[in-house]
């Protein structure tokens, strides 16, 4: 018990847990829109595509500051999203194929650049790797502050444009017809998605970031049919899995934080899929039993032939 209290008062733990919770919260909110728009895998694509941007930013600006590298990541993430949109619009190639192609080509470019950087003498490139797998333990206080600013801005945008985003997510044609700037909204929502993915790179890494977008939203979806409830639940689930994952990785030696967070998030998903009222699998089984009982229990309710 004393061990736990000691852990919670540990400065590093506080920082990392706060960072993971923040990330979980923001990605939970944005993830709802991605999942509902059936663009869940965009997160996976963008997070891979961010790598060449990170390395490029380092080559051009020569800085290893998180903001600089994330700016590069943002640029190449947006570029890849744009490319996917263009390919889908002008050819018969489907979204998933375009996504797979663009993301792997970008990631390959990132790798090639990374090996190039490693050969520059005294370039002190160590640490760029952390964007592939993520290292929550490298979070600093200023990273948290940066995350906080971005998070608050994004939440404010979502709140301000709530009605527009909601309409756009559920009925794009209708939104277009009644005169909302659908292209602008689409771009803004994609921008927010890319931004949250970029923020997550440092904590959970490129490969696991997609899970942070999808899992809380999918879990939240099972409990409600209302968007605002779903968004709030998703934010809570994201934050809880962030803290729980960090906690688990501090308590158990040699347990990496990113994967631990993903496993926690998926635990919540499993519970939701099984136990959620009216949508959950158990409820479905129970309801089926009840109907069968009703039919077989007294035949008067059903016409007999």
């Amino acid at each position: 018990m004393g061990n736990m209290i000691e852990l919670f008062s540990n400065y590093t733990f506080q920082i990392v847990a706060l960072g993971s919770a923040l990330l979980g919260l923001i990605s939970g909110v944005i993830g709802c829109f991605s999942v509902l728009r059936k663009q869940s895998l965009l997160g996976d694509g963008v997070s891979h595509s961010a790598l060449p941007g990170v390395v490029m930013a380092f080559i051009i600006l020569g800085s290893k500051k998180t903001e600089v590298l994330l700016l590069g990541a943002l640029v190449s993430g947006l570029l890849s999203t744009l490319l996917i949109v263009v390919i889908v619009r002008y050819t018969r190639v489907k979204f998933d194929s375009a996504l797979a192609l663009v993301m792997s080509a970008f990631f390959g470019l990132g790798l090639a650049l990374l090996t190039y950087v490693q050969k520059i003498p005294n370039s002190n490139q160590a640490g760029l790797n952390r964007f592939i797998f993520g290292q929550a333990s490298t979070l600093l206080q200023r990273d948290i502050a940066f995350m906080m600013v971005c998070g608050v801005t994004m939440l404010a945008i979502i709140l301000l444009l709530w009605k527009e985003f909601k309409l756009f997510t559920f009925d794009m044609e209708f939104a277009q017809i009644i005169g909302f700037p659908s292209k602008g909204l689409n771009l803004l929502l994609s921008f927010l998605t890319v931004l949250v993915i970029i923020l997550g790179l440092q904590t959970v890494g490129a490969i696991l970031m997609s899970a942070m977008l999808i899992s809380p939203a999918v879990a939240a979806r099972q409990w409600t049919n209302k968007l605002w409830v779903m968004v709030i639940l998703s934010a809570v689930f994201g934050a809880v899995s962030g803290v729980a994952g960090t906690f688990a990785s501090s308590m158990i030696p040699k347990l990496p934080t990113g994967p631990a967070i993903v496993v926690c998030a998926n635990l919540i998903v499993s519970i939701s899929l099984l136990f959620a009222p009216s949508r959950g699998l158990l409820f479905r089984v129970y309801q089926r039993k009840r109907i069968i009982n009703k039919i077989e229990g007294d035949g008067r309710d059903v016409p007999t032939s």
Binding site: G43, T91, A100, G108, L109, L111, I207, R221, P259
Partner: protein, 371 residues
């Protein structure tokens, strides 16, 4: 053989076998499943390693292939509950399995050579160091033989089951009706994808297997409508990507696998822009032409409709046309000029008049559109 030639041979073999399978993945809209499988086979390898404690055991490949199939099965199981969309199911299952794999590696296998970097990123340059020695004689790099066998399995599978693969890909309902089993074809394809991914990831790393599998078929998809041609084309494009990628890599001294993936992207972009029938330039040109043709048709109809009013037959004031049709006046002038050049209308004193030919075209258009 020199190491350079060996690397080239390996990369071409890997590229071709990936491209052949990828064709079916792209056509079946399962591109992202390749991404999923290439990540989760790591878990299969780790689990098999815990059983054998030997990194060169063939059991590792079997474990990985099994895990690939399990991934597909799990994803389908989750999406069959209808509680979430199919893409969300993919995005849910593979990060989870991958996370478990990473946790197992860092917790229990930290001391052995099974680091996540080598699995995910791969390094083709090291492939020639692993020799195939039979009876004390060195007969080339081991990877040539392992990837060669994989290529053989893929080619034989596709050749023997071509009809079944084709039918299950384009019309699975018909396949069921005719007594084929699309489920069997589906899982056999997924097994092939898994073992190919295992064979390839050692050389090129798991993320870039996706580039090899999806890039060439998508490129070929823009060039042909025939499945056989698409298979051959993607094989050829894959091989070209491999060779060019290797040349670039040696030129700039960078990661071979990385530069092959970049090459895949570049070749796709070139085809995407310049493809004869489905390229970007062609599409834009086609869409612009369509717009012009449509505008010409409308203007002719407009003049024709006014030919039985109080005004003189087929006549109309040029100045009034943009207002009437709600068109941009510059655009209207352009259309009028084009029609005049084609001899469909005549302009005199600011009055547009249909010619004989214009009447005919108008009637003809009407008939083709509405009768």
């Amino acid at each position: 053989m020199s190491p350079q030639v060996e690397i080239l041979i390996i990369s071409v073999i890997v590229a071709v076998s990936c491209a052949l399978l990828g064709t079916f993945l792209v056509l079946r809209r399962m591109s992202m499943m390749s991404d999923s499988i290439t990540h989760t086979i790591l878990l299969g390898i780790v689990l098999a390693f815990f059983i054998t404690h030997d990194l060169s055991s063939p059991l590792l490949i079997i474990g990985a292939a099994l895990m690939g199939v399990v991934t597909v099965w799990l994803t389908e199981l989750v999406s069959q509950t209808r509680l979430l969309a199919e893409d969300a199911a993919i995005g849910l299952v593979f990060p989870l399995l991958f996370s478990i794999a990473i946790i197992l590696i860092t917790r229990f296998a930290g001391s052995v050579h099974l680091d996540t970097d080598s699995v995910l990123l791969g390094e083709l340059a090291f492939a020639p160091f692993d020799r195939m020695i039979i009876g004390g004689k060195d007969i080339g790099a081991k990877a040539i033989y392992t990837t060669g066998i994989l290529l053989l399995i893929n080619i034989v599978s596709i050749a023997v089951l071509f009809k079944e693969f084709k039918l299950a890909t384009f019309d699975s309902v018909l396949a069921v009706v005719l007594g084929f089993s699309p489920t069997f074809v589906h899982y056999w394809l997924m097994t092939l994808v898994s073992i190919t991914a295992v064979g390839a990831f050692e050389a090129v790393g798991s993320v870039l297997v996706v580039a090899f599998m999806i890039g060439p078929p998508v490129t070929a998809y823009l060039l042909t409508d025939n499945l056989k041609h698409m298979l051959i084309l993607s094989g050829v494009i894959g091989a070209i990507n491999g060779v060019l990628g290797y040349k670039i890599a040696t030129l700039f001294d960078v990661s071979i696998a990385g530069s092959m993936a970049v090459m895949t992207g570049i070749v796709f972009m070139l085809v995407f822009i310049f493809a004869p029938n489905r390229g970007l330039l062609r599409t834009i040109l086609l869409r612009r032409n369509q717009k012009l043709e449509f505008a010409k048709m409308i203007l002719l109809f407009h003049l024709y409709n006014h030919s039985d009013g109080e005004e003189e037959a087929g006549e109309y004031e040029v100045e009034a046309i943009p207002v009437q049709l709600n068109w941009d006046s510059k655009f209207t002038k352009k259309i009028i000029r084009m029609l005049e050049q084609e001899g469909q209308i005549r302009i005199a004193d600011g009055i547009a008049k249909l010619t004989e030919k214009g009447y005919k075209t108008s009637v003809q258009n009407y008939n083709t559109l509405f009768s």
